[in-house]
């Protein structure tokens, strides 16, 4: 493997990686790549094998800051699983034409409200959503499931074991959110949620972001609310 003649800075390397990747690049990924390259490399390539995750994180931050200050029409975005390059929203109109993207798809108001309730209350069952909106939501839920903005994340312990709904990765992407804590006003609405759970005698459970993408319950498998029933009765 040939060694670079001019040794680049770490921020240049992470920048190049973001440029070359279609998806996002994570800190862990960079570290893995650097280690792997160091195994076969010599000199600087070998030295870079020892960089820490903290250094890589700093490199991303530095690259991001430089790019932002230079105002070049694109930026680093921190997304759910790493960093990626994306254009400045202000330039989007021309990109839409360049890429022949057509009209953007937007959600209708009732759909958006239903989605908001799920996003702030998740995991939640249909009857909770209907209690807030005061009207049946099954058609809207079906649409949101089709659009992959929400998904079924398990079954509730309530009578009839109704489905529990939560938001998806695509939901975060559609709204440009890093995680569920990024939701506007999450603190207030979450507090409200806890009060209501207390009132209904349901113990509050993880409100979300750490479960996102990790909860992999089978549709009819273990319930998400089952934590209080864990002691075994022999």
């Amino acid at each position: 493997m040939s060694e670079p003649q001019v040794i680049p800075e770490l921020k240049e390397i992470v920048g190049a990686m973001m440029f070359a990747s279609k998806g996002s690049v994570s800190v862990g990924q960079v570290r893995k790549v650097m280690k792997k390259a160091a195994e076969e490399g010599t000199g600087a390539v070998k030295d870079f094998g020892r960089v820490s995750e903290k250094q890589i994180e700093e490199a991303f931050a530095e690259f991001s800051r430089d790019l932002h200050e230079a105002k070049l029409g694109f930026n680093v975005a921190e997304v759910a699983n790493g960093y990626r390059l994306e254009n400045d929203a202000g330039c989007g109109v021309w990109l839409r034409t360049l890429l022949e993207k057509g009209k953007p798809s937007r959600l209708s108001r009732p759909s958006m409200e239903t989605l908001a309730i799920i996003a702030y209350r998740q995991p939640c069952v249909r009857s909770e959503i209907e209690a807030v909106r005061g009207v049946a939501v099954d058609q809207i839920l079906r649409n949101l499931l089709d659009m992959q903005l929400i998904r079924i994340i398990g079954r509730s312990e309530l009578p009839g074991r109704p489905w529990l709904f939560g938001t998806t990765e695509k939901f975060l992407e559609h709204f440009g959110l890093k995680n569920l804590n990024d939701l506007p006003g999450i603190e207030e609405l979450r507090r409200m949620e806890e009060q209501i759970l207390k009132k209904e005698g349901i113990s509050p459970q993880g409100t979300g972001e750490e479960e996102e993408g990790q909860l992999e319950f089978e549709a009819d498998g273990e319930s998400v609310t089952g934590t209080e029933n864990t002691e075994s009765e022999e």
């Binding site: 005061g134 809207i140 506007p184």
Partner: protein, 257 residues
């Protein structure tokens, strides 16, 4: 021509009674914590009648809420000391409803915020032009204007002709299909029109109903979009420029016979 020949508009309304109440509260600028129950109930019933007239598929919850409003209204009529005798812990008979409205309002505000994020986000692309694409939805794609704004405009148009109706002896037959053509023609000519322009030449209730249903159908088929500069301001109709779907109602089909 029988009624079956007419193009039937199938529209589901996904808004519920709480949406309507919040709409009325906002429109009348009344205090949510001190709702003039009689006035709001009367308006509520009026909107339900209008939605029935349009044959919209409204939820049964609208009727349940009507009953609730009536009950609150009757309880409010009781002198306060008698009321407290009957229901000891209960304070204001409106309180349960108010709590529900306030809670829903918070999520509505959150939804508005999300809408802002969505609009900003639709101009952002990742490398190689990737973007998050949603599938087309099956419901009325109303973002800026609520169904109740439209119904309110419909009501204004109706009240304008109400007086003349008695003179009308030879009922003219209009169809939704014809009105679809008329609206699309107007938009082709002018680019955009005001909702009130649509009803300008409508002489009868029947014609207004057909025009209105045609407009709703065109929204559903994504041929037109409705916009509002501010809440409760005039409603603007704009063509989307999308090609008409095969199921587009055509005037000839219905007026042939």
């Amino acid at each position: 021509m029988t009624a079956q020949d007419e193009y039937k508009v199938q529209l589901d309304v996904f808004e519920g009674p709480l949406d309507l109440l919040l709409y009325l509260i906002r429109k009348d600028e009344v205090d949510i914590y001190d709702i003039p129950i009689e006035r709001i109930t009367n308006q509520y019933m009026q909107y339900i009648d209008l939605m029935r007239m349009l044959d919209l598929n409204i939820a049964g919850e609208f009727i349940v809420m009507a009953a609730t409003l009536m009950m609150i209204k009757s309880r409010m009529l009781l002198p306060e000391d008698e009321r407290t005798e009957m229901e000891e812990e209960e304070e204001d008979p409106r309180w349960d409803l108010v709590r529900q409205l306030v809670e829903y309002k918070k999520f509505k505000d959150a939804a508005i915020h999300l809408q802002g994020l969505e609009m900003e986000r639709e101009n952002v692309f990742e490398r190689e032009g990737g973007e998050v694409k949603l599938q087309p939805q099956a419901d009325l794609a109303l973002q800026d204007v609520s169904i109740f704004d439209l119904i309110s405009a419909f009501n204004d148009a109706l009240s304008r002709v109400a007086k003349e109706e008695l003179r009308e002896i030879f009922a003219e037959r209009f169809t939704v299909g014809e009105k679809v053509d008329v609206i699309m023609e107007m938009i082709r000519e002018k680019g955009q029109i005001l909702l009130t322009d649509l009803f300008e030449r409508s002489a009868s209730r029947h014609e207004i109903v057909c025009t209105f249903l045609a407009m709703l159908e065109l929204i559903r088929l994504r041929q037109i979009q409705v916009k509002q500069k501010q809440r409760f301001s005039e409603i603007l109709i704009i063509g989307t420029g999308e090609s008409p779907p095969e199921t587009m109602p055509i005037a000839e089909e219905v007026s042939d016979e």
